[in-house]
Structures are given as structure tokens and as C-alpha cells.
Symmetry: C2
Subunit: 361 residues, 2 copies
Amino acid sequence: MKLQVTQENLAKALGTVARVATGRATLPILSNVLLKTIDNRLSVAASNLDIAITHQIGSKIQKEGAITVPARLMQDFIASLPDGVLHLELKDNKLSITTDKYQSTINGISAEDFPIMPAIKGGSTWKILSAQLKKALQKVVFASSNDDARPVLTGVYFHVVGGEVTVVATDSYRLAEHKLGKSKSAVNFLVPGSAASDLLRIIGDFEDEVTITHDDQQVLFKVNDITLVARLIEGNYPDYRKLIPTKFATVTAMRREDFINITKVSSLFARESAGSITIKAEGKTVSINAIASQLGENTAEADATVKGSGEVTLNSRYLLEALNAYSGEQIEFCFNGKLEPCILRSSSDANYLHLIMPLRS
Amino acid sequence: MKLQVTQENLAKALGTVARVATGRATLPILSNVLLKTIDNRLSVAASNLDIAITHQIGSKIQKEGAITVPARLMQDFIASLPDGVLHLELKDNKLSITTDKYQSTINGISAEDFPIMPAIKGGSTWKILSAQLKKALQKVVFASSNDDARPVLTGVYFHVVGGEVTVVATDSYRLAEHKLGKSKSAVNFLVPGSAASDLLRIIGDFEDEVTITHDDQQVLFKVNDITLVARLIEGNYPDYRKLIPTKFATVTAMRREDFINITKVSSLFARESAGSITIKAEGKTVSINAIASQLGENTAEADATVKGSGEVTLNSRYLLEALNAYSGEQIEFCFNGKLEPCILRSSSDANYLHLIMPLRS
């Protein structure tokens, strides 16, 4: 392998892929990135067996070849070099990287040992604007679970509801759902939450289309020169739609910023009680009370429009994360007594729905 | 106690003092801040027995009094309230804080139990511009030691050298010294590094004079409405001045930015070898070589003016921290063989000197 690339392109590609290369004690080569010449371009790839990301960049190839090198060292090193052309040359699994002021040698591991994800055979394909996918995933991914005891809940579920592709995530304490628009494709797959987070990072900077292809085992997202392949989570996603209430005993509407402020202040007093805060709607105000037995207590209130009245106890962190996922100026908060799910909704985010289960108080 | 303060002033005072209130299992009240009315002002104070900081703010006092309340909760709570006037009132060791939208009660501990640092009796006093003291401390504090085995080296030493007040810190691997200007006072005291760091934070925003008073046991820094009192470190500071070489076999001069860049790049390859890098001066270049036995090696070079020639092995972190403490465009790096101290100097920072001991290579 012998080639030239610009520092800028190589640094960008390493930035895209290297985070996936975290390594496992049993397979050290997964701490490396794969550099491989393909059709007069340089392919830079990393994998953790569940997710693989590849970024192809322009390159002047003098001799074909492939090698894997330590991801963290390579990323930090290339990022710290000045702008300009880098000369890469492979000799006996040692990669030399040269500019006029820098000469370095990085010890590699043969590319033959690098695990390749199997190709997707057939499967269905659809396209979506990357900005639209990004907006939806940002409002949904954080509601997925980190608990591997129920793998299904660690994923983000893509499926069709009433003719519209819909993404949803839930950790069983709260649920976030966003519609992506009409589609004729048979979309139905469960992506690991970590892959969805990587995808968010990758599509961040592009205003282009994302092409999505999936079969029963894997999904492939392609945007410009970058592809992300993820192993799907197996299992049946819970039939969550029947949990979403449509009628409410209490409907409140207020400025979203006011609701955020009174929740934040109350959450300081709720640190000792696992974030437990009690929301009360009555007359023309919504108030939040939090009690820290050792430290004191706090009541904060905001002006609101209230239909009905009542109170409900929630986890303040879930409420804050939900409120921050909305973007409009006004927010509606609706609930039915102390035990049934609460929902947040906003006409500015008509495709988005967030549901939070109450705490027993 | 019953009074009114603005949210802005109280938040600022808590920001100044609360970091010191870290608490100790043996004396929980040290996790609290002391609020006390003094002469129609509110004094906000915190202490860890070694350092005490007090910030006095304007206040409309209706009834004198004092209480201590949990520092972290109080700081976070007041910071999260909107601008405006806060009403504080004490009833049975419970502090109520009220605005039109917020009512909270914070449980306090009686102010009588709060430990007060003894007053400084007599002692000598001098003044210095805060900007000048800040600049010097920023370039010196980081060279003090974190190792409590030699308490003297954890401090920043203020003393007089050739009629000039001088601050110095060393962890025995490197040493930083900055002159503060002529003084007739008998300055000679050793401040804990942590107190010097707190002082840096406090004097950050003021373009005023700092008044410094010390006796054998304590030093008091006063700037505007803030005072910091620190217990001095006992013991004799090493006679470091005889370590500073005045003649050099090799004197190099180069752009400081170039030296930083080649040190940074090399340090990536020196992670496995505790930061060990070898600097070589010859002809018209300074080059740095670093070897990571498992991962590879790197040589980086910069254009330089070189008198003499030679090489020396240093810790890359110490070199980077020293280079970043200078501000001028050019830097001189001077050394005598492989075992004697190296120094950095710059005509833009004529009052500053940084010395680094080589590693045995």
C-alpha cells in the first residue's frame, strides 16, 4: 500500500469511524481501524461486531493494499498534524506516515484478521431526508433503556403506524414516538440504541438523503461516503400503542420555558428522593412541590391554562428530558389521576409524542 | 434574621465561597455556608479549616441574625432562580426563601457551631495589582506538588529575591518562578497550592488591588468585598535558586507554537513510556523523537536557531505545560547535557523562569 491523502480528509474519516473501535479483550484487532484501498479511494473502517462504520475518502493511490492500525493513536496523531498532504506507505505491517516535518511509523495488524460484517442480501430499501431522520432520532433515542436485561427496550423501533413510518423508544418508565411520514415500504426493524446514537453523530453535518436497507438480520444506513451497518435486535417490540391515553381528566397548557424552570428548581430538592416531584394543577396555575426531608422543601409555580384539576408525582429527570425534546414555545401536559400515564404534546411538534409513567406517591 | 437581597448578588457570593465547603465526615457543618448579617450587609462564608472565604454583599436587613445552610443545595437553588429580589427569613433554624413564584424552606444548622478562623494579629501588609498577581500565580501554581508526603512542595512560596517579591512552586521535577516587583515588606510565607488556586478564581474578575496581610500562621488576601484566609504551610522551602543554571552548552530558539506542535504530536507516541520524549538540537532544527514499543515511533522537527548541539530526554507533559505558561511568540530552550536542569525563557515574559529536570534515558 502506498498512497497520498490530505490531512483534512483522513482526520475527518477517522473522526467518523474511530469511536466504534473500542476493542475487546478477546479480539484486540477491534481497537484498530482498517485502512484499505478501493477503486482509487481509501476506505477507513471500524467495527465492534454489532456496528460497523466505513468512510471512503479521495486518495491518490500508487499501490493497492490494506492494514489495520490502533484507532486511538491514529486518530489523535492525524488530528494533531498540520494541514497538507500525507504520504502513507506500508512495509511489513508497519505503516509509515510522512510529511516534510514529521516522520512516523505505526505498527499494524494484518487486515486479513479484521472481521467483516456480512453483506445485506435483498431486503427492502427506502430513503429519507437526513435532517428529518436526525430531528426524529434526537427526540426518541434518549428514551431507550440501558438495561441489557430486556434487550428489546435498548433499541429504537422503526415500524409503520397508519401508513406512516414511525420511530419509538421506551425504557418502560417513559416512551417517545416520532412519525417520519408516509411510506410504501414494509419497514419493521429494531436498531440498537447505540447504533442510533452513532447514526445521529454521522448524519449531523449533512443535508442529504439517507438510504436505509434492511433484511431480517441487519440494517444499513448510507449517507454520502459513509455507511453504517448494525446488527438488529431480535424479539417482539411491546404493543405500546394501546398504552397511550386519548382522553384526560386534567389538561394544562403553559409556556414550555416556565415549565422547565419550575421543574429544574424543584429537582434540586428532589435529589434525595430519586427525583420525585409532585405536580398540581388547579385554577390558573401549575405548581411543583419537592421535599428533601433532611434539607428542606420547595414549591414553585407557573401561570397556566388548566382544564380539570388534580395532581401526579413524576421523576423530575424524565420530565426535564421530555420538555427539552420539544421545541415550541407552548406545551401541553395532560394526565388522568395518580397512576395512569401522563403525556406531553405541542402543536409545534405535531409528529412527536412523549409519555411518562407516574411514580407511586 | 430577616432580609432582602437580589438573586444576582447572592448567586455571585455563593459562587465565590461554596467551592470551599466540601465537608468532612467528622464535621458536617463544613458542607454548609454561613449567612450572617454584619453592618447592614450580608456576609456569605465557607471554610474547610485550612481555607476560609467570605464575600459581603449589599442587603436590606430588617432583623439581624445568622444561620448555616447546605452549600451545594443553596448555590444550585439560588443560581436557578430568576432575577429579582429574594426574601430570606429565619424561623427555628429553618431558612425560608420566597419570591412571588417560589417558596422554599431550607433546613439549617446553628451558626454558633461554625468554626471561625482566628484573626491575624499584627503582621506585615502590602498591596499588589490583582491582574499582576493573577498573571504570576497562573504561571506558577501548576508546578506545585500534589504529594502530601512533602508538604512544603505542595505550596506556593512568596519571598524576596534581590529586593523583588517572588513567587515560586516546584514538585522537584520542574520549577516555576515569577517576580512580582520591588517591595520593602518582609515577605516570606508558604501558601497551600489549593488556596492559591482558590485565590486565582476569586481575583479573576477584578482589576483592583489585592491587600495581603500575613503573620507566622496565616495569610489574608482581600480584594473588594472578598477575603480569603489560609493557614500557612510550616517548614523551610528548599534553597532552589542554586539549582538554576546560568550557562548552557546548548541554546535553541524557535517559534513557541512550533515547539508546542511537535511536542504534542510526539506526546501521543509517549503515552506508553510515561511521557518520555527525546529532544535533539543540531544544525538548524530541533527534533523530538518518541518511541512506543508496541505501537510505533515518531520524529517531528521544527526550524530553530541552535548554538551548540546535544540531546536531552524530558517528560512531554511537563514541557507542554511549561510552553503553554509562556505567552510570547518566540521561546528559548537551553540545556547542559543529559542530566542537568533545562530551562525555558522568553523576552516577552522576562519575569518568568521555568526549569525542567531531565528523565534518565
